[in-house]
Structures are given as structure tokens and as C-alpha cells.
Symmetry: C2
Subunit: 165 residues, 2 copies
DNA sequence: CAAATTCTTCAGTAATTATTGAAACTTATG
DNA sequence: CATAAGTTTCAATAATTACTGAAGAATTTG
């Protein structure tokens, strides 16, 4: 990797750090995003990132478990490769969406706790509950629409390939 | 604070931890959410959380800077109080929304880097770019609609108060 | 099934981040 | 303007989290 790519990968890591995930998770994802061909072995990742095999193993495991990356094998080769799973970004957003429910529930628990207290004191929790209830209803709609749109985009790409061949 | 509230506050902290912010930020917010009256002094927060004044000072500063909390004073008292700012949750979501742009830009930078490479290798970055472009367009709409709905809800509450008095 | 290759686990360590507490600073009050 | 009350800053330290590397487990191959 040249200097420019190394920097790109590091910033990919930082972006993930800001986002609340580990930097290494972001770095590995970053390398895979700019890989051509789009898969890399554990050894290659370790070398490109100057990281230990152990840490690559941990990280790829998490990424697979999060459905962001998939294992890939090449016929006749023993080692595993890793590549970005199509729909990875959608998956990240879906997780985020699920967290909304935790926030709503937290608000509801708080309201139970305040049960019969001054309505004025309950306002913030009510706002929190209503807000997350709203988003829990709206997000899936928006996410589904993306899926429809991207499916139809893929279909078009496929059609044009088909016409040409 | 009784045991139940202490646990609630701690879990509020954990929720914020998961979300990528600091636990203490969440704890302070948690205390304020269930406070009646809804404001607390730095000293009260320190005592309720068993935390130092320094750490409370840092945390309230961040919370104010993030527009989640506001200072509050009581006439005739020297000390400052803190309370949840109306619209705090909206503000959290707005920040999240801004992060979408960082992800889109990261994808675009990656595509520049891969410039003339195999279209197949560019796919993941293109998906990432398209996905975040889509969300950057859609989120503000959804967020604005919440604002309208919540404004009209507040208006209704105000009306009914008005009628009664 | 033995040898070679690859992968995972985990105890130890390094790096990072959060928290304390004391001193310095700021602001209000008589 | 001196004193008191309250707040912030920051160096030191505690707590947490990330990473390494070696040992061992799993898998493939001849």
C-alpha cells in the first residue's frame, strides 16, 4: 500500500472510532473497501496494517458476526479470504435502528420510576419516549425504500449488461 | 436516590457507552432526566453520582456544548443548576445526521483513490456512497416532520391548558 | 494418519481514556 | 475591595480497552 492508501485506511479507522466502534474494525473494513481484487487473506491484512495475526483474527470475527464481511475461498487454496458483504452499510444502519428501541425503553422505564410525580418533571422523559417511538416507526420505512431503489438500480445494471452480451 | 434510581442512572450511562459516548455523560443525563424538580446543581450531581467535582464540571461542560443541557439559575442563589434542554433528543439525532456526510465523503475519497480500477473492485465504495447520499437526503425530511408534529402537539397541550384556566 | 499450513484463543502488556483532587480562577456580596 | 462561594483546569493516577505473540486447535493434503 502506498502512503496515500495507508492514510485513507487510518482515517477510515478514525471514522469508525468516532462512531463508537473500534478503530481496528474500521481499518480492516477500510482495507477491504479499497482492495482490488476485493478480497484479502488474514495474512495480507496483518501485513498491510502492521498488526498481529491475533488482532486480525479477532477483528474479522467481529466483522463477520456483524454481517459486514464474509469469508471467501479460492478453489485450490487453503487459506481464507475476507471481503465486504454486499449490503454491509444497510446492515450498519439496521443495527442503529435497533438501538432506537433501547432508548425508547429507557424512557418508558424512567416514566414508570417517576410514576405519580409532577407532570412538569416528566416532560423530558415524555419527549424522549415520543421521539424514539416516532423514529422506530419511520426508520424502517426509509430503509425499506432504499432497498427497493437499490434493487431496481441493480436490475437496470444487469439489464444493460445483458443487452450488450 | 434509592437503589432503583441508582441502577436506572447506571444503565442510562451504559446505554450512552454503547452508543459511543462516555458513560459519565449518560449518567449525568440520566440523573437530570429523572430529577424532580428537573434541575440539579454541580454539587448535587457529584453527590448523587459519587463522582468528583472535577469530573462533573467536565461532563456538564460537554453536555452544554452538545446542546443537550442548559444552565439554570434560581433567583437569589449563587450556584448554577443544570437541566435537560428541550429538544435534546432531536439534537442528538441531528448530530448523527451530520455524521452521514462524513461517511459519504469517505466513500467518495475512496473512489478517487481507485480511480481507473476494475469496476468490480469499486462496487463496495459505490454502494457506500449511494447509501449515505440517500440517507443524507432522507433524514432531514423525517427530522423536520418530527418537529412539525411535536410543535403541533405542544400547541394542543397549550390550548387545552388555556381552555381550562 | 502424520505433517504442514492456517486459524483462534488468551494471558500478558501497551496504549488510551476517564477520573480525581488540589490549586487557580471567577464571580457575587457586604 | 476583601472575603466567601462556586467553578474550572490540569497533572497525576486509576480503570478500561486494544493489541501482541506464543501455544494450541483445527483443517487440509499427500
Amino acid at each position: 500500500m502506498d502512503e496515500e492508501r495507508r492514510r485513507y485506511v487510518e482515517e477510515f479507522g478514525l471514522l469508525f472510532g468516532q462512531f463508537g466502534l473500534s478503530r481496528m474494525l474500521g481499518r480492516v473494513l477500510g482495507v477491504l473497501m479499497i482492495s482490488d481484487p476485493p478480497e484479502r487473506s488474514a495474512e495480507e491484512l496483518a501485513e498491510e496494517l502492521g498488526a498481529s495475526r491475533g488482532s486480525i483474527s479477532q477483528t474479522t470475527r467481529s466483522l463477520i458476526q456483524m454481517s459486514l464481511v464474509q469469508r471467501w475461498s479460492r478453489p485450490g487454496e487453503r487459506r481464507d479470504y475476507f471481503r465486504i458483504k454486499p449490503g454491509a452499510w444497510h446492515e450498519i444502519m439496521r443495527r442503529e435502528m435497533e438501538a432506537l428501541g433501547d432508548f425508547r425503553k429507557m424512557a418508558e422505564r424512567g416514566l414508570d420510576l417517576l410514576d405519580s410525580e409532577d407532570p412538569y418533571a416528566r416532560r423530558s422523559l415524555e419527549e424522549m419516549r415520543d421521539f424514539y417511538t416516532y423514529w422506530e416507526r419511520e426508520m424502517p420505512t426509509v430503509l425499506d425504500r432504499w432497498e427497493q431503489e437499490s434493487r431496481s438500480r441493480d436490475q437496470k445494471a444487469l439489464d444493460s449488461t445483458f443487452r450488450q452480451s
